[in-house]
Symmetry: C2
Subunit: 377 residues, 2 copies
């Protein structure tokens, strides 16, 4: 039963949630998009400072195109008080694909994020009118107590933050029923159910790594630590089943999030290096391989039946449903999957030829392990 | 309401769960016992190799006494197939205080641990006859699937491992009703309830750090990562209430577990340093300060009422109940608590005078923050 997908030919994939960063990191990561079997990416705007103007998004796109012109970059804005209904109309005209909302303080570079959704209702209304997609990082923010780490009574944790956000999703959907919404990187059975329970305007992305991970995998392993955190075995099953359902409401967004190893290990806070670990799992160079491997492992574990994983179902998840949702053309080319004989490699940042060290290395998910390879046809 | 316990005088504390290690680490950590306000410690046997003979335990005790003679070291054996009923009788005669059971693979140096409790029934019977205490690391072991990280169906996680162990606790208690059992480092409301539900032979220890931490505090912070992991806010409340209940079934065991910072960060696996983080929170130099600070924070958060924290209740938790359970004499001296003006410091391992680095530093819980000080009267 090894290598279930050897020889599979599917359309080139699309990845509807990527972090490509800027500067040297961007230079290192952007070339890995096609390596992963992907020609279209939805690019997150959480640079430092965040992308809050159309011009900044277009400039960022140019920088990305200069590195790898053969990728279709769908650009986004970072929801922020400086964004007005006029910004939305300008964004639509400029071809911006979405507006990403980060609750304040929940993940990497989210300190400029949303505290109060109601303040953005005029913006959401304009987005609904202009048919611009709202991309939600769906976690309820920790209370101020939780941030201080002092409160014994705080009730929102990394475990229930997504579930606690779902009423906000439902409220936004109810108030703006025509607004197209993506609940990004679903990690819970509850999120899957919530997305299913909304109208067709509401969809969810699922990462590759959440098809693999549960809480035990990031407990004590910063490489597997991301936000939202991987949850329980039952949640992982729900994600696998949603990804393999053929339901066009669920499609792939890797949330591939590169950090230098030194940041993943929390060594960048100065002093001895006892700081906190950066949240994010980097999967970009092997995204299609990881999705198929996730499916394969689920088949082996008896969670998915091999028969449900038809080409149509796989293609729906790895590109077709997302392309349709964002209104972009279908994939032109195809990729062919090779048996699991590709070794996952890390990515170097900065000058080539320098020795490998923690300040110039991004460790890839499942580094050193074999995964499916991808040939472009 | 700051500094609730300034000026408090209580008997010298006892810590019924400590890791003192061996070699250079032992040299560094053992002198911090009295610094924390403690004169009596129950010493864990998970050295490498583990302490499985009476002679090894007595030799270890001598090494500890050579470093700090003014501490009462209660020694333990590591439950292991080589331990027989004869070992138990020998241990009792030699003054060994307990036998520690680690389920295989759940925490630091537990690879020699227990897979099947029934295999030890003859040993437990001898322990019951000899009135030797059984100290349980109360976590159900991960399934083989979980260890491989491959199974989508695995159901025991770091979150429910303690709760899933409780039927084993109950079964042991039922089968050996006179066997005195300590459920070490309780981390869940379920564990507190289970201990309450057993006869007086079954008690539980509670650490200082679990009075502070929840899952969010170790997510992405290896310094706060330990096994059993800190759980939910509701669990923390249950632990605080048990510790402040005056119930003699719950007493203090810090589970202070020193690791070099490089190990805490998972940098010791060779290669780039992308290994896993050692489990354990180091609290030894400030244990009494941390317990009182934990109580203070709970009062501020409205979880505990100031009135319940009488001297009697505090003394019960920090020593009296544990001393009674282990049948040792009451504390002779007293300590006086100073307002929170002591800064938590790290501990250096190895030659003094060398520069601070990750390979010679143990980071103390809440390093750099102020906590209660302790004066010996």
């Amino acid at each position: 039963m090894d290598d279930l997908f050897d020889g599979l030919e599917i359309p080139v994939a699309a990845d509807f949630h990527v972090h490509l960063r800027d500067g040297a990191m961007m230079e290192a990561v952007t070339p890995t998009i096609r390596q992963g079997g992907v020609d279209t990416v939805f690019v997150m705007p959480n640079l430092v400072p965040p992308i809050t103007t159309v011009q900044a998004a277009l400039d960022y796109k140019k920088r990305l195109q200069a590195i790898e012109p053969n990728v279709n970059y769908l650009m986004s804005l970072y929801l922020h008080p400086s964004i007005t209904p006029d910004t939305i109309r300008e964004a639509k005209k400029a071809g911006i694909a979405g507006v990403k909302s980060y609750p304040a303080g929940v993940t990497t570079n989210s300190s400029s994020g949303v505290v109060d959704y109601e303040a953005f209702y005029p913006v959401f209304e304009a987005m609904e009118q202009e048919d611009l997609v709202l991309n939600l990082h769906g976690e309820a923010p920790p209370s101020p107590e939780a941030m201080e780490g002092s409160g014994a009574s705080r009730q929102i944790t990394v475990l229930n933050a997504e579930q606690e956000f779902l009423p906000t999703l439902n409220a936004l959907h109810k108030r703006f029923p025509k607004l197209r919404i993506v609940l990004e990187h679903c990690t819970t059975a509850a999120a899957v159910e919530a997305v299913k329970g909304c109208g067709p305007q509401v969809v969810g992305t699922i990462t590759a790594h959440h098809l693999f991970l549960i809480i035990d995998d990031w407990a004590g392993d910063p490489i597997n630590f991301c936000k939202p955190v991987a949850k329980l075995p039952s949640d992982r099953i729900a994600l696998l089943q949603a990804a393999a359902s053929g339901d066009s409401k669920f499609f792939f967004g890797s949330d591939s999030a590169p950090h230098l190893l030194s940041a993943k290990k929390g060594l960048t806070d100065g002093g001895l290096g006892a700081g906190k670990c950066a949240a994010g799992v980097f999967t970009q160079p092997n995204v299609v391989g990881f999705v198929l491997e996730g499916f394969e492992r689920a088949v082996k574990a008896g969670v998915l039946k091999r028969e449900v994983l038809t080409e149509e179902v796989i293609e729906s998840f790895t590109g077709r449903s997302g392309r349709k949702f964002y209104g972009i053309e279908e994939a032109r080319g195809k990729i062919k999957i090779r048996a699991r004989n590709v070794q996952v490699r890390n990515v170097k940042v900065g000058k080539a030829g320098e020795g490998e060290n923690m300040n110039e290395t991004v460790v890839t998910f499942r580094s050193g392990k074999p995964t499916y390879g991808v040939d472009w046809l």
